[in-house]
Each structure stands twice: as structure tokens, then as C-alpha cells.
């Protein structure tokens, strides 16, 4: 039986891991290569690097990080943040990432999903979605809207319709981030996650809001997510990957144990 994945997210700014709350107030918390290695050893099923480097000139630092990580860990890892073109995708894949995640660039021009899937295969293309709950209107029938710029810009696109369109275009996976839940540690956005997961056939990674193993358990069962993204809950040592997996295993959620 396919295991539910625990994916560790490392926000990287100019080559350093950082963590912010609701996309603000970032503080540096370590070296991403070293942290990735530690999470790999500890049993993380996958690692996501999210490049939040603001300046375009410093983006090459991320390629260097990816290269070093690739020689260190032997589980899949993906890179997202600031991916604008198929060439950006190629750069991180050639540096050794298994997958690349596109978010706002795909919202602005969905063709990047199809182009990326054609060039590298669907399994490489992850659609990152930042979503906010809004009032249900004709344009947003699901009541969840796509936002960009860390939630500051509403795009007038329905989250469910966007997920389905991305799947048709060739996205291999969806990383679904709730802006409302992100950083608050009060649990994942369950309604949103379940709705998206039930309406696409590609895997859905739930992101934003993990504060306890119970939250992760909930989103992987009730929320129908295929994977749960975790960040601060493990970065600050609140829980270890092992503790989280033990908790899930005891509740009959299939997880991978490192033997």
C-alpha cells in the first residue's frame, strides 16, 4: 500500500533556511544542505525547497544549494519559488532536483505547465497553489480563490477550477497551500484539501497550518491528502519526523519507516 508522505519544507533566502509567519517576519534558522541531510536521515519522505530570495541576481545561490543537496540526499526533492520560465525549470532539474514547482508564473501563463510537462515529463511538474477562502460568488463557486504575492493579490480564479485545469495541462502533483492556515499551527484547511483532492486524480500535498501530529493525521485521512507538508513543527524541534510517523502509524495511517 502506498504510504502517505511527510514532506519537509525549507524556505531558503539567499542560501539560508528561513521561517516566516504568514509570509512575513523571516528569521534565518540554518544551512539548507545540512538540514536536508538531517531530515533525510530522520526519515522525511521528500524535501521541498522554496526559494524566497527577493533579488533576481542572487538566484544562482539556490542552484548551488540544489547541486550540493543532490549529492547528499537520495530521496526526491523539489524546488519552487521564483520559477518563471521553462529555462528556470531546466536549471533546477539539471542541478539535481526531481521536481520543480510553479506557482504564480502558472497563474499568469498556464502554458508553462504544459511546456514543462512536455519538456521534462509530468512527474517533474508540481503546481503550487496559494489559496484564500472568500465569499462564494459566481466567479468563485467553490469559495476558495487563487492568490499570489503571499496572499496580497487576488486573481479572481476559482481554486478548484484551477486545480482541474492544471491537471489537464499536465501537472503531476499539486501542492495546496492555504494562506489562511499558513504559519498559524492550528491545523490544515481541511475542507479545501478534501475538495481539491477528491476532484483531481493527481496527488495532493496539503500545506499550511501543521501544529501537531493530530493535524497531519486529520489531513491525511479526513482531508484525503496524499502528503502533508511540515515546516516549523519540525524545524523548532517541537516534534521529530519519527514521532509524527509513529503517531500516524498507531492510527493506521500507512507511513514509511526507515529500517
Amino acid at each position: 500500500m502506498l504510504s502517505k508522505r511527510i514532506i519537509v519544507c525549507l524556505d531558503v533566502r539567499e542560501g539560508k533556511t528561513t521561517k516566516g509567519i504568514k509570509f512575513k517576519d523571516n528569521i534565518d534558522i540554518g544551512d539548507p544542505v545540512e538540514m536536508a541531510r538531517r531530515y533525510y536521515e530522520a526519515g522525511a519522505d521528500e524535501i521541498v525547497f522554496y526559494d524566497i530570495t527577493a533579488s533576481h541576481e542572487k538566484r544562482d545561490i539556490m542552484i548551488d544549494v540544489v547541486t550540493r543537496v543532490a549529492g547528499t540526499i537520495f530521496i526526491p526533492f523539489s524546488v519552487g519559488g521564483g520559477i518563471r520560465t521553462v529555462q528556470d525549470m531546466r536549471n533546477v532539474l539539471l542541478a539535481g532536483a526531481e521536481k520543480v514547482s510553479v506557482n504564480s508564473a502558472a497563474v499568469k501563463d498556464p502554458a508553462i505547465i504544459a511546456d514543462g510537462a512536455r519538456a521534462f515529463g509530468s512527474q517533474c511538474v508540481v503546481l503550487g497553489m496559494d489559496v484564500k477562502q472568500v465569499e462564494k460568488i459566481e466567479q468563485i463557486p467553490s469559495g476558495y480563490e487563487i492568490v499570489i504575492n503571499g496572499g496580497r493579490t487576488h486573481m479572481g480564479i476559482d481554486a478548484l477550477a484551477w486545480a482541474q485545469k492544471a491537471e489537464r495541462l499536465g501537472a503531476g502533483e499539486i501542492c495546496l497551500n492555504s494562506i489562511d492556515a499558513d504559519g498559524a499551527k492550528e491545523g490544515y484547511e481541511m475542507t479545501l484539501t478534501r475538495m481539491i483532492s477528491e476532484h483531481v486524480s493527481i496527488p495532493v500535498i496539503a500545506s499550511g497550518g501543521a501544529g501537531s501530529p493530530q493535524h497531519i493525521c486529520d489531513v491525511l485521512t479526513e482531508g484525503k491528502a496524499d502528503a502533508g507538508l511540515v515546516a516549523s513543527i519540525v524545524h523548532y524541534g517541537t516534534y521529530s519526523i519519527k514521532q509524527i510517523k509513529h503517531f500516524l502509524g498507531e492510527r493506521n495511517v500507512p507511513v514509511r519507516t526507515v529500517w
Binding site: 502506498l2 539535481g96 515529463g121 512527474q123 503531476g172 496527488p203 496524499d226 529500517w259
Partner: protein, 241 residues
């Protein structure tokens, strides 16, 4: 033989002495087993992770599209992700298809990974593609809807970590805990004709062959290079035996 040579000439711009090498093979495989591991590059996805894993384990390897490098290797890894049709077109165009057949007939160790596993069977349902036919059987798509034994709808592609049941321990599985999981990402799976070709099985709604073997060929549907410690152990066993 003549065919291969002419294609090699076209590829490398020089004469490749493959008939000579093959002749020697009749007497002793060691004559041209230089200890070199060749990883076949046929423009199907990112091979870098396989290379990194092999080098991390301390083995030399070369990534190659040269027929000579394939025929002269001590062992070959045939990885790949992507479409079976496109992969076969590239292999046929470059003559690498014939080189693979010839290498496998030599009895030296050959490892297929993911797409590299699928296209060593006879045909794939993916765009109805004729494949290499080194192992009898075909490659088919997961049925939809795909349901678990408790009636849950399962997703395709089969992406993530899953177990491999292996009742009898093949030498490449030496030292691997039977509860280990491996990383998969695929929508099609191999169905060999002979039960004897199945070394390991994995369940995702249905049970399918996730490790295949035939003589000197071993082939996995999962990615050992992305499967953490058990995956590295598997590669080490292949590269070192």
C-alpha cells in the same frame, strides 16, 4: 553486427571495433570487461540522480550514448523517465536498441530502472509502442477507477513510497530489510509472461511486478537512486557483484 558498426560510425565519426570485441566474448568476457559501468543516456529524463548515487557509493561510471561504451562496459544501467514511444524512437534512431540487445546477450549485468524497465518488455500500451522485447510480456496502464481493498479511490500516477514483496531473496536484495519501501512514480506497469521473471511485487490497487529478472537482467519499476538507504543498498549490490 554490420548494422551496429555502421550506426556506430555515424554516431562517433570513427570505426568502432565491435565485431572484434564480440568475438572475444566467445572465449572470455573479461577480455573487454574494463570494470566500467555505463549508464545509457537516451534523452529520457534526468540521469543525474542515478550518476550521483552510483558515485556516492564509490563506483566509477560514465553516462553515454556511444554504442562502443555500451558494448565494452562491464555492466550497464538503463534508467529513464518519460514516454515509452519517444524513448524507443531515440533508441532505434541511434542504434542503441541493438547495442542493448547485444550487451544483454553477452551475459553481463544489466539493470533497468522505471521507463528503462518498461521498454525491455515486448510492448507498451503507452501509445501502443513496440519495445525491446528482452523479457516477454507487456506494459499496461493502471485501470481507472483504481480502488484499494477497502474501496478507496487510488490515484494514478502511483507516486510515492511503497513496499516490495520478495519471497525469495535475489542477490541484489542482499542486506535489505523486507519491510523497506521504495520510491515509485509511474502510470504504467510491467506484466511479464513468465511468473519466473517476477522477483518482487508491489500493491497499488492491484499487485504488479516491481522487480523483474531474466538471466543477467534485473529491472525495477521503482527508483533505487531515490529510495533512501535500501535503494542505495540495492544499487551497491548491483554495482558490486
Amino acid at each position: 553486427m554490420h548494422l551496429i558498426q555502421s550506426k556506430s560510425e555515424r554516431l562517433n565519426g570513427k570505426v568502432v571495433p565491435s565485431p572484434f570485441l564480440v568475438k572475444l566474448d566467445l572465449f572470455s568476457r573479461k577480455c573487454y570487461a574494463y570494470g566500467m559501468l555505463s549508464i545509457i543516456d537516451y534523452k529520457a529524463g534526468n540521469l543525474a540522480s542515478v550518476v550521483r548515487a552510483v558515485r556516492y557509493l564509490g563506483f566509477e561510471c560514465r553516462v553515454t550514448r556511444s554504442i562502443n561504451d555500451i558494448l565494452s562496459a562491464e555492466r550497464v544501467i538503463f534508467p529513464g523517465v518519460g514516454s515509452a514511444r519517444q524513448a524507443m524512437e531515440d533508441l532505434e534512431e541511434t542504434g542503441i536498441d541493438e547495442a542493448i540487445r547485444e550487451f544483454c546477450a553477452s551475459g553481463r549485468p544489466f539493470l533497468g530502472i522505471c521507463l528503462g524497465t518498461q521498454i525491455i518488455l515486448e510492448k507498451s500500451e503507452e501509445l501502443d509502442t513496440r519495445c525491446l522485447g528482452l523479457i516477454r510480456g507487456e506494459v499496461i496502464r493502471f485501470p481507472e477507477p483504481l480502488l484499494s481493498d477497502t474501496g478507496e479511490r487510488l490515484k494514478v500516477p502511483h507516486m510515492g513510497w511503497n513496499r516490495v514483496e520478495f519471497p525469495e531473496r535475489h542477490p541484489v536484495l542482499k542486506g535489505i530489510d523486507p519491510r523497506s519501501e521504495f520510491y515509485f512514480v509511474h502510470s504504467y506497469y510491467p506484466v511479464p509472461v513468465s511468473e519466473k521473471a517476477i522477483v518482487g511485487t508491489t500493491t497499488h490497487g492491484i499487485a504488479f511486478a516491481s522487480i523483474l529478472e531474466q538471466d543477467n537482467i534485473i529491472a525495477t519499476q521503482f527508483h533505487p537512486e531515490k529510495s533512501g538507504r535500501p535503494g542505495l543498498e540495492f544499487l551497491k549490490n548491483f554495482c558490486g557483484t
